[in-house]
């Protein structure tokens, strides 16, 4: 039934294919631009059907159970290898393989399309630059020596800080980012006001191997050289 395979897009979007047909379709999907576009739009329709189905609320402890279960698993940092082109399954633990199989249709469909990140960035919009950096599979994660969160740096030196536990900067103050390279004076690399709880900040300067990224609280408008002790500092990249 080669001629009818595009038509399976509907059944796939509604999870109505039998296992074997699902596999056949996923194999087809990897190389069919038309079906990828169609599937994206059918999934949006399915999302409408999901919203229309709204029923009772889940019990209040479900959220906690999900977070506990997530915490019990090793963090999935393995897929962030340079230019991952292989399917996800081999790099995940055995325990994760079952879940990966659930997602694999999506994974194949999604990752086969996007070797470059430009389209991701476009989709996210300029203000989502930091998210695009964090989402870059080739970017490395650098731990913080001070503060809570992480620094993410792409191979070409674009970087973003994902921070939590910061409050908005006090009145008349701002957070200021610094890139520190060896003995050279810290370079001012952007200001941000701070949000309650969590923060995703782009760094306005290339970050290279050996650099440390830090954040201080400075007077509004920023300063040319830090006047305070850092409240956030990464380890060396």
């Amino acid at each position: 039934m080669e001629t009818g395979i595009h038509e399976l897009t509907a059944g796939y979007a509604l999870d109505a294919l039998d296992t074997e047909e699902r596999r056949t379709y996923e194999a087809h999907l990897a190389d069919c631009g038309r079906c990828k576009v169609e599937l994206a739009s059918f999934w949006s329709v399915a999302e409408g059907l999901a919203v229309a189905s709204s029923g009772p609320a889940p019990s209040s402890d479900l959220r906690g159970r999900i977070l506990d279960a997530a915490r019990a698993e090793p963090p999935v940092v393995v897929p962030f290898e340079p230019r991952r082109r292989r399917p996800l399954v081999p790099v995940l633990s055995v325990a994760a393989a079952v879940a990966a199989a659930v997602a694999i249709g999506l994974g194949i469909w999604a990752s086969s399309l996007s070797s470059d990140l430009d389209s991701t960035r476009a989709a996210l919009g300029n203000e989502r630059e930091a998210a695009a950096i964090v989402a870059d599979p080739s970017a490395q994660t650098v731990a913080l020596q001070k503060g809570t969160g992480r620094l993410v740096v792409t191979p070409d030196g674009r970087a973003a800080l994902a921070l939590s536990g910061l409050d908005p900067a006090p009145a008349g103050k701002t957070y200021e980012v610094w890139v520190i390279a060896g003995s050279i004076p810290p370079a001012a690399s952007g200001l941000f006001p701070g949000h309650e709880g969590a923060e995703l900040v782009t760094i306005d300067r290339m970050v290279e191997n050996g650099d440390v990224v830090a954040v201080t609280v400075e007077k509004a408008g920023g300063v040319k050289a830090p006047t305070q002790e850092p409240i956030v500092a990464s380890k060396s990249v």
């Binding site: 949006s44 479900l62 989709a123 989502r128 998210a131 695009a132």
Partner: protein
Amino acid sequence: MRKRHAHLSDEALVALVARGEESALAELYDRVGRVAYGLAFRVLRDERLAEDAVQEGFLALWRTAAAFRAERAKASTWILTLVHRRAVDLVRREERRRTEPIGEQVAAHAGESETTEEAAWLRFERERVQAALSELPDVQREAIELAYYGGFSQSELAERLGVPLGTIKSRMFAGLARLRELLDDAAPEGSWKPEFTN
């Protein structure tokens, strides 16, 4: 707790989840969990199983967030797809499908634990989709509803309804394509939660 990441898009949150950020997973649950559970419950008709499906769907998100590409689907769509697939797997395994309308049971709960704004938005969206569904020819609506809410595969539906498999496939495709048109027409600006605007 609820507003911790309120300024971040769903897609940015998925990127953080892929970096192992639990609070981003929590925020996504706060945003999508309610609808995901409603969907799982509609398919499974059982609270415990519905919670299992939601939990496994979110853990699949936790494990595979790195595979997500924002330019191809919204994060909420992806999460609901993960949960729905798990719910369908469970319902087929449990053989516990029922197809009678869920009616009162749901109506009685609708609006519970939602903020006013969420409740209004959900009600609006629900009515919009139901109106569109009601415009479909009966056989198309039946195929879509039994598949998506009932968890029946196309071949099971062919057997159940006594029609050729090819007919079911065509009905489902034509029905979804028509539904897409109807929802596009009926979509006021910025209808489904706009994530890329501002």
